[in-house]
């Protein structure tokens, strides 16, 4: 049976070898060490010193950390529902085999696929209070101009708006999820006299619910992380720290102030909170397949 091939010893495990080594170095080890650093005082120069829960106590007292957490909380509370609703709406509107639908699906995916730095630069200009097109557009319909980048409330809102268009991944997921619902179900419901709204309310929504929850869970982790580039490029955390979200705060703590222990503690706290929420609401059975 065996022809004495000299590659015969090569078991499937060898294929995994490079991945196991590199991902240990770049993902597993850094994550575990960061979790450990949260309990130390570490300034990147001298060796870390064990301080127990000290970092967490200092975080609780820090004004800027509280601001960062509140900013992130507001951002997530606004962006996640908007992004999920947007992805659902576009997925239901844009399913169909005809060519125009295909083109529009590409358009909806566009803001997700283009480089985040370019996207942020474009929005830096769109949100410009004086000659940005958004305010010119508001003016054209008789609405007052808004200080998008200089008013704390509107700066935060601006971040939410630009994130609301980057919904390609959720959109694709829901398009595919919608395809899993058989057309027969809708036909049966129509025969029983269900109108469009009822079909949506009693067929589409319940069947898509696990997917929506999956999406919300993922978005809690992803959308917060994705604030880094826009808040770095457009506002650098300002005005008055209104757009200092957790990733930017961690960056400043770790790389500007070399408070690596504190940064790690903040990170661990946020990871635990978002991770737990995600675990609580996600029904993983839909992805098991």
């Amino acid at each position: 049976m065996s022809h004495g091939n000299r590659w015969r010893w090569f078991s499937p495990w060898y294929f995994l070898f490079p991945f196991l080594v590199v991902s240990s170095l770049l993902i597993v080890w850094p994550t575990l060490v960061t979790a450990g650093l949260a309990f130390t005082d570490f300034n990147a120069v001298s060796a870390p010193v064990w301080v127990g829960l000290d970092n967490f106590l200092r975080l609780a007292q820090s004004e800027i950390v509280r601001t960062g957490l509140v900013n992130s909380g507001i951002f997530v509370a606004l962006a996640v529902p908007l992004r999920t609703a947007g992805a659902l709406g576009m997925a239901l509107l844009l399913r169909g085999r005809e060519r125009p639908f295909g083109v529009l699906r590409g358009v909806v995916y566009l803001p997700t696929v283009i480089p985040e730095a370019a996207y942020a630069l474009i929005w830096l200009w769109i949100l410009n209070p004086v000659y940005g097109p958004l305010n010119l557009l508001l003016g054209a319909v008789g609405l007052p101009a808004i200080n998008w980048l200089t008013d704390p409330v509107y700066a935060r809102l601006g971040m939410v708006i630009l994130a609301t268009f980057q919904i390609g991944e959720g959109f694709v997921l829901l398009l595919a999820a919608r395809e899993t619902i058989a057309q027969d179900v809708y036909e049966a419901a129509a025969i029983d006299g269900a109108d469009r709204w009822r079909a949506f309310r009693y067929i589409t929504m319940p069947l898509l619910l696990p997917w929506l929850l999956l999406l919300v869970g993922r978005d809690l982790l992803v959308s917060l992380q994705n604030t880094f580039a826009p808040s770095f490029i457009i506002t650098y955390g300002g005005p008055y720290y209104a757009t200092t979200f957790v990733p930017l705060l961690v960056y400043e703590m770790a790389f500007d102030f070399l408070e690596l222990g504190m940064a790690a503690a903040l990170l661990l706290f946020v990871l635990l909170v978002t991770g737990l929420i995600t675990l609580a609401i996600t029904d993983f059975s839909v992805v098991k397949e």
Binding site: V28, P30, T34, E179, F232, A254
Partner: protein
Amino acid sequence: MTRGSRHQIGRIARLLAASVIALAFFLPFYWAVVISLRPLGSPPPSTIVWWPSEAQWSNYTAIFSIVPFARYFLNSVRVAAVAVPLTWFFASITGFGLSRLPYRWRRLLVPLMAIMLVIPGVAFWIIRFRVFQFFGLLDTLWALIAPAFMGGNPLFILLFYWTFRRIPQDLYEAARMDGASWWQVWVYIGSPLSRATGAAVVVLAFVKFWSDFTDPVLYIFDTGKYTLPVGLQLIRQLDQTNIPLLMVGAVFMILPVLVVFITMQRVFWRERPTGLFPTRSRARRERI
């Protein structure tokens, strides 16, 4: 009115509504192109410009002399040229190896990949910095390429994994019976049969490496090694108000992604991550 024609009207109404909303997704990019063609240093327009009146195509060459744009561009090209093929190769072999493991290992490793997928990047910024420092990769383009050696992103590996699981297992078995090693099975069966997934991964990997903003911010300090996303940030710091120039840079950055995305459109939508779940339309396609 017949059922059919009512259905048709609903479809057209849906298309109209969708077009209007989709416009909002497209408008920012259109505006960026229009504004990039305004004379450099000219006062900003006080009304919305829908059409460039005197298009300054020379802006697109001027940017090369105003900042070391060619250098940033070249660095970005270098990173993508090395990282994309490596990503394809490592994602493919890792996905293949994973798909060949016994069930009890797959059951353990596949969810583990999914977990790695959702760990936010911030979680490993700090220590990855030290790892790169240790290996002497800090402030080199290799720090940006490094993730390619683990298949770029666990998602890419899972895409290949699902594809390799879908290939009829008899094919592998037959080759094994003929004395082929697993390596040969990947070269002669696995890799040709996963061409569509491979194309999708190449698109996604190109977007990932070309667009990467965070990694160069964290690991590159020498401005001579800047890639486009951070290089543009530099223009912004030099000349805040030169919006046309900034938009020229943005368009330059977007263009390659757009070209790749549009040419690979078809593959992308067919091989989209979740499209790999056995949906009805897929089942129908495969029966034909």
